[in-house]
Amino acid sequence: MKTIILAAAAALTAGAALADGHAQTIRMGTEGAYAPYNFINDAGDVDGFEIELGNMLCEAAGYTCEWVTNEWDSIIPNLTSGNYDTIMAGMSITDERDEVIDFTQNYFPPTESNYVALSEDADLENGVIAAQVNTIQAGYVAESGATLLEFATYDETVAAVRNGEADAVFADADALMPTVEESGGELMIVGEGVPLGGGVGMGVRETDGEMREKFDAAITAMKEDGSLNELIVKWFGDDAPQY
């Protein structure tokens, strides 16, 4: 906690040194359909690991933050065209994305992606695999030789497996875990996990170097004092990878 306050104080003095000292408003883009990272709760507000983390980071970096939801498919183009200033949407850091936007260091460690299906003997090599469009998982399936079936949202990929449209769904283990646990044995993890991506990071425009450094510092502080781990355990459970 102490470190956060220190980091906040440091960020604030740095901010005050700028031309205008008052808190800058940052618009935070997210998808709102990828629990537990981000989702819309019963009250109709954005909620989840990234929302809580993002608010803490903003406080530490001395920004006023406002959340905006955007379709996953157009989430990067809308960042570069300035509709919002950051992306926190369970987005894995990859080389392809890094060419278009910049990332902070990861705030969720690199994890495995898993196949989930209705039965153990689902055909993962040549069958039909559902994945969310424009994700590293979709890219992986496309190269694996299986038939890729893309959907706009995570929920639709799982629904496709339930109704038999796809043999299995391929997604982040952390998003799949709650789905599998709550399905009452209907869905199961099939095959081996595949490590993909460089962890989840916050996406910013390449020209916003200063903002990226502030958020980077805030993430470092939260990693060092263990508060990030607490947040990970809170949202992802004790088995989740930590720093």
């Binding site: 019963d42 909620d47 939801t69 065209s81 709650p178 789905t179 709550e182």
Partner: protein, 288 residues
């Protein structure tokens, strides 16, 4: 909403449903119906205005104005709606910001286009980055209304142009022979009577407009389709007090009922309008 909703797990049947249907999320869904109706209410008159302007420009004696009208109608009618929606909104948004940038920040030295980024100075952002969220939403909605009106205006222009031409030439000539100026003849004869010929076509456009409102979703407005998909998706007890399996079918069925109700009411109103405007006309509809 209700006090009994504090512990939804203990409820079942209708009590559960009453609580479920009154969550904040559902109110956002109901509000989205208002957004769609508002879009229709604002877009329809605006599109008609665009159509009138387009039709009159196309008929104008002044050649550049005529070319403008013809160009507008031909261009918009010829490009797929969805392409226009994706392209035009971005172009309009960036165009506004570019113009404001030239006016507000003449001393800005950095290039506006940097790779994939379109960066104007912070003071020229529309809306400003510091504006509250509702300003951003209202701005997005206005862009949507303008784009819808532009697209449907081009079709309306063609319908109205045909209707103007359908008004019997003899009547216009008679008006001129009585000493009316061409402008008076247009206002008193053509304009008054063209609606009878235009209504079936305009009615079609209205129906298509109703059915095109889900395109709002493409423009980033959270409309009924967005909320139906979000609410219908399977919910687990960990992230919701109201877990349920995949209910998208029921939500989309509700949308189906809504759109059918909208179009069937519209059909009835249109039929009355057609009858009203046909009265006294020397057409098959007017003599009955």
């Amino acid at each position: 909403m209700f006090e009994s909703c504090a512990d939804p797990e203990a409820l079942d049947g209708l009590a559960w449903l009453a609580c479920y249907l009154t969550t904040g999320k559902h109110f956002a869904f109901y509000g989205a119906f208002g957004t769609v109706l508002l879009l229709l209410a604002v877009t329809a008159p605006l599109a008609l205005l665009f159509g009138l302007a387009g039709a009159m420009a196309t008929r104008a004696g002044f050649a550049p104005l005529r070319w403008l009208g013809q160009g507008y109608v031909a261009l918009v009618r010829g490009v797929p709606d969805i392409a226009l929606f994706l392209f035009f909104v971005i172009a309009l948004d960036q165009g506004i910001e570019w113009i404001k940038h030239q006016a507000v920040c003449p001393d800005w030295s950095e290039p506006i286009r940097q790779g994939a980024n379109f960066l104007v100075c912070p003071q020229a952002k529309v809306p400003l980055g510091t504006s509250p969220q509702w300003v951003h939403e209202a701005y997005g909605f206005s862009l949507a209304v303008f784009t819808f009106a532009l697209v449907f205006g081009a079709f309306a222009a063609n319908v109205l142009l045909g209707a103007m031409k359908a008004v019997p030439r003899g009547q216009v000539e008679t008006a001129l022979a009585y000493g009316m100026t061409p402008r008076q003849a247009f206002r008193r004869i053509t304009f008054r009577q063209m609606w009878s010929y235009a209504l079936p076509g305009l009615g079609n456009l209205w129906m298509i407009l109703i059915k095109a409102t889900p395109l709002l979703f493409l423009l980033g407005v959270e409309d009924i389709v967005y909320w139906a998909r979000e609410l219908g998706a399977a919910k687990t007890p960990r992230f919701s007090d109201y877990p349920h399996p995949d209910w998208r079918m029921w939500y989309f069925a509700a949308l189906l009922v809504f759109y059918l109700a909208m179009t069937s009411v519209s059909e009835r109103v249109l039929a009355r309008l057609v009858a009203r405007f046909a009265r006294g006309q020397a057409t098959a509809g007017g003599t009955t």
